[in-house]
C-alpha cells in the first residue's frame, strides 16, 4: 500500500490517532482543507477518501479530514475532478457553523472522526 497522509483540521483526529500518525493538522477552514488536498492532487497525490464524506454539508460543519497518497507524479484525473467539484460545492451552502455552541462543535468533531474512522478501517483491511 502506498504511503498515505491524512489532511485534517479536526483536533479530535489528531488526538485519536496519536503522535507519529501520518497526519497533517491544518488550522484552517473546511474549504481550506479541500484546497490543501487539491494542491497535493495537483502534484500527483491520489484521493483515497471522498472529499465530501458525510451528509453534514459544507458550512454546517467546520471539520474535514481527507486521506490521500503521498505520491507525486502525473495528476490523477478522478481525484482532480472530485476535489474540484467538492470545492465548487462549498459555495452552494450557507456558512453557519461558526455560530454553533461548544457542545455542537464537539459533535461536529466526532462525526468527522467517525467518517474518517470508517475510511481508515477500509484502508487498513
Amino acid at each position: 500500500m502506498a504511503q498515505t497522509i491524512i489532511l485534517t483540521n479536526n483536533p479530535l483526529v489528531v488526538e485519536k490517532l496519536g503522535p507519529g500518525a501520518p497526519v497533517e493538522y491544518l488550522q484552517c477552514s473546511y474549504k481550506s482543507v479541500l484546497e490543501a488536498a487539491r494542491d497535493r492532487v495537483h502534484q500527483g497525490a491520489k484521493l483515497l477518501s471522498h472529499p465530501l464524506s458525510g451528509s453534514v454539508k459544507p458550512g454546517e460543519t467546520p471539520y474535514k479530514s481527507i486521506i490521500l497518497t503521498m505520491g507525486k507524479g502525473d495528476v490523477d484525473e478522478q481525484s482532480l475532478r472530485l476535489i474540484e467539484n467538492a470545492i465548487l460545492a462549498c459555495a452552494k451552502f450557507q456558512q453557519r457553523c461558526d455560530r454553533y455552541r461548544p457542545a455542537v462543535d464537539l459533535d461536529c468533531r466526532l462525526i468527522d472522526w467517525t467518517l474518517l474512522e470508517g475510511a481508515l478501517a477500509s484502508a487498513n483491511q
Binding site: 484521493l47 465530501l52 458525510g54 451528509s55 454539508k57 472530485l82 459555495a91 457553523c97 462525526i111 484502508a123
Partner: protein, 426 residues
Amino acid sequence: MKLEIGNIFIKDIQFAAESKVADGVLYVDKAALEKVVLEDETIKAVSFDIAKPGESVRITPVKDVIEPRVKVEGPGGIFPGIIAKVDTVGSGKTHVLKGMAVVTAGKIVGFQEGIIDMSGPGAKYTPFSQTLNLVMVCEPVEGLKQHDYEKAVRLAGFRVATVLGELGRDVTPDETKVYETCGIKEGIEKYPNLPRVAYVQMLQSQGLLHDTYVYGVDAKKTLSTILWPTETMDGAIVSGNCVSACDKNPTYVHENNPVVEDLFAQHGKTLNFVCQIITNENVYLADKQRSSDWTAKMCRLLDLDGVIVSQEGFGNPDTDLIMNCKKIEAQGVKTVIITDEYAGRDGKSQSLADADAAADAVVTGGNANEVIILPKMDKVIGTLDYVNKIAGASEETLQADGSLKVELQVITGATNETGFINLSAR
C-alpha cells in the same frame, strides 16, 4: 417468492388503558409502551404524543419514521437480524397498520435535523404529514455517548413498531395486495418478451448517523448483493441515518420503497421485475470502486436489460451514483437514475457533485436548497431549541413572528431520492 400484504387502515390513534386495534382505531397503552422503551437502560425517559394530519403541530428533530407491521404467515419476522431472528423474509403474509407511523424524535447530535409539519405550507413537502403519527421522544441517561444514544433510539423505535404491529395480527385486513417475482429461469420462460429489469438501491453507509442495516448488518461492511424485492417489505433494510432529512430514507421508505412498488405495478405487463440489488456508499474510494464494479457485474450476470438506480444523500453518494450508472451502462444495461439536487438557494449552482454523459435519464426530487417559510405552529413535539442548528437552517432561521425560514433540506422526505413524493425541478 410471493408475499401477501394485508393493509389494515388506521383512521385514528387514541391513548387508552389497553393497546388494541378495533374498527380502524389504534388504541395505545402509553404505560405499556413506555416499558418497552425503557427495557434499554440507556434510555432515561420517553414521552409519547400523537400528531394528526391537518393539526397545527411541528415534530422536530425527527430521527426515524417506522411503519408497524407483523408477519402472520411464512418464515421469519419483521426487522430480521434486529428484532426478529435472521431468517430470510419476504414470503407468506404480512399485516400492516396502514396510514400511521411511529416517529422517533429527539436530539442525538447538536446539528441534527428533520421537521415534519402536520399542516401549513411545509406539510406538502413531507409524506409524513399524511400519516397519523405516534411520536416518541427519548431522553438518554446522563453521559451517554452519541453512538450509543443513536443505537438506543433506533432500536426503541423498532421495538415499539413491532409491539404495535403485533396488534394487527388477528385483525382482518381492509385490503390485500399480492407481490410475486420468480426465479431467473422461470422468469425468462414466463415473460420471454419482456425486458428484464432490476432496482439498484444505494444505501447510505458513511458512518455514525449515516448508516443503514441489512438483516442487522452494517451496510458499509457489505458487498453489493441481491434481494427478492419483497424482503424489504418485511423490514429487511432499516435506517440508522439521521443526517440530511430531506433525502435520507427513513425505515418507512424502505418498508414502502416506491421503486419496488412501481416496478411491481408493471411486472408481467411491460417488464419483468427480476430482483433488487443493494449496494453501499462508503467514503473510501476503493470501496466505491469495488461496490460499483460488483453492481455492474451482477447486472450483466443477471442478463438485465435495464435498471433504476436510487441514491441516498448528498455529495459523496453522487460519486457512487455516477460510477454505478457509468459502469452499468458500459455493460449494455440501460439505466434511469433518481437523485435530488443542491443547486443553491438561487437554483443556479451545479446540482450534483459528479456528472457523466452516460447519465442521460435522470429523475430529480427537486432542489434541496430552495427556501421555504414555515409558519409558527401551535404545538411543537420534540424541541425547536435545535432548529437553528439543523441542516439547511441559518442564523436568520427564526423570524420575529415565530415562523422559520429554512431550506427544504430540513424537511423529512422533501427531496427523497427513491421518488417517494411528487416534488421535482427543472
